[in-house]
């Protein structure tokens, strides 16, 4: 399942970027046509998506198969 999270992360970023390209328009009147909301959303979710990729990598390596039960294990 780790691979699923690793793939999902760039899919999310791709979806956001392509949606921004499709919707941002100087002639548009709706708020979704303005660049600022997209800059905010992409700027915030990109590092989180990278975190999801790292999570997926750890999952794939079996790091979550056994969770630590004391500080000595951390």
């Amino acid at each position: 399942m780790g691979l699923v999270w690793i793939i999902l992360a760039p899919v999310i970023i791709y979806f956001l970027v392509t949606s921004a390209i499709q919707n941002v328009s100087s002639g548009g009147t709706k708020d979704i046509n303005q660049p600022v909301p997209w800059i905010i959303i992409i700027g915030i979710f990109t590092p989180i998506a990278i975190g999801l990729m790292i999570f997926g990598y750890y999952a794939m390596k079996g790091e979550y198969d056994k969770l630590p039960e004391s500080s000595e294990e951390i």
């Binding site: 399942m1 999270w5 919707n23 709706k30 708020d31 979704i32 600022v36 909301p37 905010i40 959303i41 915030i44 989180i48 975190g51 999801l52 790292i54 999570f55 750890y58 999952a59 790091e63 979550y64 969770l67 630590p68 039960e69 004391s70 500080s71 000595e72 294990e73 951390i74």
Partner: protein
């Protein structure tokens, strides 16, 4: 390490919770008054843009919470919980009070929203440092088999802060006219000013608190962290737990919290067009009746484990959000009430002229006057609504080519008593989902991390999950709803998608074991 006696723990919980509650109150009055604030701090013209800008400033406060978590989390692990607590409270109180002093856009122009944004960011930083400290502080005093129950008292403070914010706003509004409330220096500022009194009380109480015994012991033994940030996020063994906490628990809990309470209120106000007072009354009742369940699910999590209670709350939201919000839409459709020809309370309908606009272009023969009139309707069972319609009055004998939208606009919807209780029960159900996801989560987060870096490590995922994912719910949902106008429920796909993803990750990777010992 012996835990605090029961009598002592009561004082600990009270002093931690009160300050946290006040900080939540400070944070939420901004969101509760979003519509009023949008009128004051942004230029007139486009109400949707102003509302979105206000929600963006609201969201900005959430987005900096993770940074506050890092800054104050680090402080709390370096110098102790008590003094960090005091600092966050002072910052929050001061910035809230100052928001109430910023003049409107009409007076100081663009400086108004910029000042409000700056103060909102300070609020977000302060809140980022508050919660992790409060939950850690209580958990480090609690006996191991009651950690879920005792920390659930802290979990009530966010909802109770919302409750107090709603209550104070309603109290102020009920005692003055709409015009007096919405004026530039009107009643809407009072909840901000009241905050400084509440914060003063809380500072006094917190000054009397002692340091966390676990932290004090650690400091005495010289075992505190010299660089909690590096230890939290630079070591894989701990960083992987931060990621798990975020993606497997807090991300979903954040969207459930904000959808069931904040977005519900925003949806009822802006989509259903529910009357201001009734909207908040519904929230108050639902919150009041649901709040004890935070304690119940915290207690239950001590018996059966935290994981499946939290994840069940997420899944129930995924399944039931669309049906519940769909019921709101269907039940409070004023247009349908009118077309059903339901009996009127009285035969006379009040119709008043509220505004006249003149639309002109270069050719004076092509101008047109638009006349807006508002009609108040009251049905025999107590339901009410207003209809605003526009009629054009040609200035001259030529037919104008200027097109004007004459579609009637429905507003000020008031439900009958029976319908009001139906709405209260539906919002109550959504808040029950919140209590399931949120009640046990403080204990869950505390148990994931060792004492010396606990404040830093638990604060960051908590504030990303709630601040970023949850805080953006009203903004993203409104953005979707104003774009894809054919489906008024389209905004729900964001929280539903995030909660569903979190459920899957949590189900696969979280442990249901309760850590008996946080004294390490």
């Amino acid at each position: 390490m012996s835990t605090t006696p029961v009598k002592g723990i009561g004082k600990i919980i009270f002093s931690s919770s009160l300050g946290t509650l006040i900080e939540w109150y400070d944070f939420y009055i901004f969101g509760m008054l979003a519509k009023t604030i949008s009128i004051q701090f942004f230029p007139e013209g486009n109400n949707t843009a102003a509302l979105l800008n206000t929600l963006a400033i609201f969201a900005a406060g959430f987005l900096v919470r993770p940074f506050g978590a890092l800054v104050f989390g680090r402080l709390g692990d370096l110098i102790g919980r008590k003094y960090t607590f005091l600092l966050t409270l002072v910052l929050m109180g001061a910035s809230t009070f100052l928001i109430g002093l910023v003049p409107g856009y009409k007076t100081i122009g663009i400086a108004a929203p910029l000042l409000v944004l700056l103060l909102r960011l300070i609020q977000g930083l302060a809140l980022g440092g508050e919660y992790g400290g409060a939950a850690t502080y209580v958990a480090e005093h609690a006996p191991k088999d009651k950690r879920g129950y005792y920390t659930s008292w802290i979990q009530t403070t966010a909802t109770l802060g919302l409750f107090v914010a709603l209550g104070i706003i309603m109290l102020v509004k009920a005692n003055m006219s709409d015009a007096a409330f919405n004026a530039e220096w009107g009643g809407w500022r009072y909840p901000f000013w009241i905050s400084i009194l509440l914060v003063g009380v809380s500072i006094y109480i917190r000054l009397k608190m002692s340091e966390s015994p676990l932290y004090a012991a650690l400091k005495k033994e010289g075992k505190t962290s010299t660089n909690p940030l590096k230890e939290s996020f630079g070591h894989k063994a701990n960083f992987k737990m931060v990621l798990l906490a975020l993606f497997g628990a807090v991300m979903g809990q954040g969207v459930i919290w904000y959808t069931g309470q904040f977005y519900a209120q925003s949806f009822l106000e802006n989509t259903i067009k529910l009357d201001f007072i009734q909207n908040r009354e519904i929230l108050l009742w639902a919150i009041g009746l649901a709040t004890p369940f935070f304690l119940f699910f915290g207690w239950l999590s001590d018996k059966v484990g935290r994981k499946w209670i939290m994840l069940t709350g997420l899944m129930l939201g995924v399944i039931f959000y669309r049906p519940i919000f769909g019921t709101f839409l269907k039940t409070a459709n004023a247009k349908e009430w009118r077309s059903q020809g339901i009996k009127m309370a009285h035969p006379v309908v009040n119709s008043t002229m509220i505004k006249i606009d003149t639309v002109t272009n270069a050719d004076p023969f092509m101008s047109v006057t638009i006349q807006y009139s508002k009609t108040d309707w009251e049905l025999i069972d107590g339901r009410k609504f207003s209809v605003t319609s526009a009629d054009t009055v040609p200035v001259n004998q030529f037919k104008s080519v200027i097109k004007v939208d004459t579609k009637p606009v429905y507003s000020n919807v008031v439900l009958s008593t029976a319908l009001k209780w139906k709405f209260i029960s539906l919002v109550w159900v959504m808040i029950i989902f919140v209590t399931m996801a949120y009640g046990p989560i403080a204990a869950f987060l505390v148990e994931l991390f060792p004492t010396k870096i606990r404040y830093t490590s638990m604060s960051l995922p908590y504030h990303i999950g709630n601040g970023v994912f949850g805080g953006l719910v009203p903004f993203i949902a409104t953005l979707l709803a104003t774009t894809f106008t054919t489906d008024p429920l389209v905004g729900l796909w964001y929280p539903i998608g995030v909660a569903a993803l979190c459920f899957i990750i949590g189900a696969l990777y979280l442990s249901n074991k309760i850590d008996k010992d946080v004294n390490d």
